[in-house]
């Protein structure tokens, strides 16, 4: 339905951004994106239009979000990171 591809803004002029897709570059129209876009920003491109400015801080948040799905223990709901848990058990039950 929507082949959306992320890219990084290289330069901006009159309603268009030059975007780097890590191998090729293309001009992308900024008519429908809802935030101002500056060089260095990440955007989501669909058919030559930027439909979203992707905030850089959300990237790490996304990875953290995935981690929560991995760490859930058998008792269903323990969100403590695995390494913290093993650290606790290593100190033994005192």
């Amino acid at each position: 339905m929507c082949l959306g591809v992320p890219g990084r803004v290289v330069s901006v002029r009159e309603g268009f951004a030059e975007v780097d897709f890590w191998g090729v570059r293309r001009e992308v129209c900024l008519d429908i994106v809802d935030e101002p876009v500056a060089p260095g920003d990440y955007i989501l491109n669909h058919v030559g239009f930027a439909i979203r400015r992707i905030p850089a801080e959300d990237i790490e948040q996304t990875l953290a979000l995935y981690e929560t799905l991995l760490e859930e223990a058998a008792d269903g709901g323990d969100l403590m990171a695995a390494d913290v848990r093993s650290e606790i058990s290593a100190t033994g039950k005192k």
């Binding site: 959306g4 030559g48 991995l70």
Partner: protein, 382 residues
């Protein structure tokens, strides 16, 4: 400054493809599906790009066999009804230059595809962007250029943007755009539907926001998870979805926060609804979907190809409108109620080269896969 080297790598290309994390997410999906205890547990995604991604990365092979991830009516090209394709073909045969996205070129209407029309000598041009179609019109001022606008709301916003710009006189739009939320309603309302949860399309939700699913979840008491398109996005989305199904929790969960917010892209929404209005229409082989089709509002009649031209469909139909669609059961196939082999047209009147319903049009459609491989092949041992 992001210190985590893994985040930096992901950041560099925004490609969430770490196979190790993928494996662990698959284990979560397996565990939770097992905890649900029923077989199969059916969930549906409604996005052609989700199916493309699932296929491209071979994710189907990783899903537990008790989890049925159904491809719903999410491929806008596949669900474009035959008479709509006919409209584009007719205009090409009537002498217009028809500009179209590549996906649409080989899809047969009642008799012909745009490709077939091109073989006969009609002018058909492939464009990557709506802006290109406008440029085409500027480059050939003595020809009428019609942009055959297909795609869901995500793509419709691009069409809306150009409509509100400066358009040359010889340019018009044939809108075959579709709107996905009404289709989810149809599937959820089907009496024998087996679907217990939806994976919602992340890019469409970038525009519409995830808030629009709240009334849906309220009404149907089925969870909806909004997911992105990288392998980890899809696996994490499914993991969260099966958790919600296990816990009997009808909620909307956004697993694509880097692109989707609750309100969505308000500017794009404003443009979209100022240009288009939703009307009911038939989705190829599925059903009449109320508010599922997007047509140009009256204010834009001057660029509406349907109002500028008299489209001669009778010439394509030998005078008689097509009737095959009546026997197509794609709707049931998509909802998990029927199998491709249950359809009387399967393999006979409906084949990949001459598809009747949506499930045969898409390269990832259930019927197409069944026709080519006799079912979803088990490749695990190889």
């Amino acid at each position: 400054m992001i210190e985590n080297p893994r985040a930096e790598a992901a950041l560099r290309q925004l490609k969430f493809r770490d196979p190790e994390i993928a494996r662990r997410l698959v284990r979560t999906i397996e565990r939770v599906t097992h905890e649900i205890g029923r077989s199969p547990v059916s969930v549906m995604h409604v996005c052609g790009s989700h199916e493309q991604a699932i296929s491209k990365f071979g994710l189907r092979a990783t899903f537990p066999k008790d989890l049925n991830v159904i491809m719903g009516p999410g491929c806008p090209v596949c669900i474009t009804d035959m008479p709509e394709v006919d409209e584009g073909v007719a205009l090409a045969r009537q002498g217009c230059v028809v500009a179209s996205y590549g996906d649409m070129l080989r899809v047969r209407g009642t008799a012909l595809s745009l490709n077939d029309a091109q073989a006969e000598g009609a002018s058909v041009e492939v464009v990557y962007s709506a802006t290109q179609a406008v440029e085409l019109a500027r480059a050939m001022p003595d020809r009428e250029v019609v942009f055959f606008a297909t795609g869901f709301e995500t793509t419709a916003v691009a069409t809306a943007a150009i409509v509100r710009g400066n358009l040359p006189k010889n340019f018009s739009i044939l809108s075959a755009h579709k709107y996905i939320p009404p289709a989810m309603e149809i599937v959820a309302e089907m009496p024998e539907t087996r679907v217990e949860g939806f994976l919602a399309a992340g890019h469409a939700a970038t525009i519409t926001g995830w808030g629009i699913f709240e009334p849906f979840v309220e009404r149907h008491r089925i969870p909806v998870v909004v997911a992105g398109f990288e392998p980890l996005d899809i696996l994490a989305g499914l993991a969260r979805l099966v958790e919600l199904v296990r816990d009997g929790e009808p909620a909307v969960v956004n697993m694509f926060p880097r692109c989707v917010t609750r309100e969505g892209n308000l500017r794009a929404q404003e443009e979209l609804w100022s240009v288009f209005r939703p009307i009911g229409g038939r989705w190829r082989g599925i059903a009449h979907v109320p508010n599922g089709n997007l047509r140009l509002r009256d204010e834009w009649a001057h660029v509406d190809a349907r109002r500028r031209f008299t489209i001669d469909l009778a010439a394509l139909w030998d005078g008689v409108p097509p009737a095959l669609a009546a026997d197509c059961v794609c709707g049931d196939i998509m909802s998990g109620i029927s199998a491709p082999t249950d359809c009387k047209l399967f393999g006979k009147e409906c084949v990949p080269d001459a598809p009747v319903g949506a499930c045969m049009v898409s390269s990832e459609g259930a019927c197409r896969i069944w026709h080519q491989y006799g079912g979803h092949p088990n490749l695990e041992a190889l």
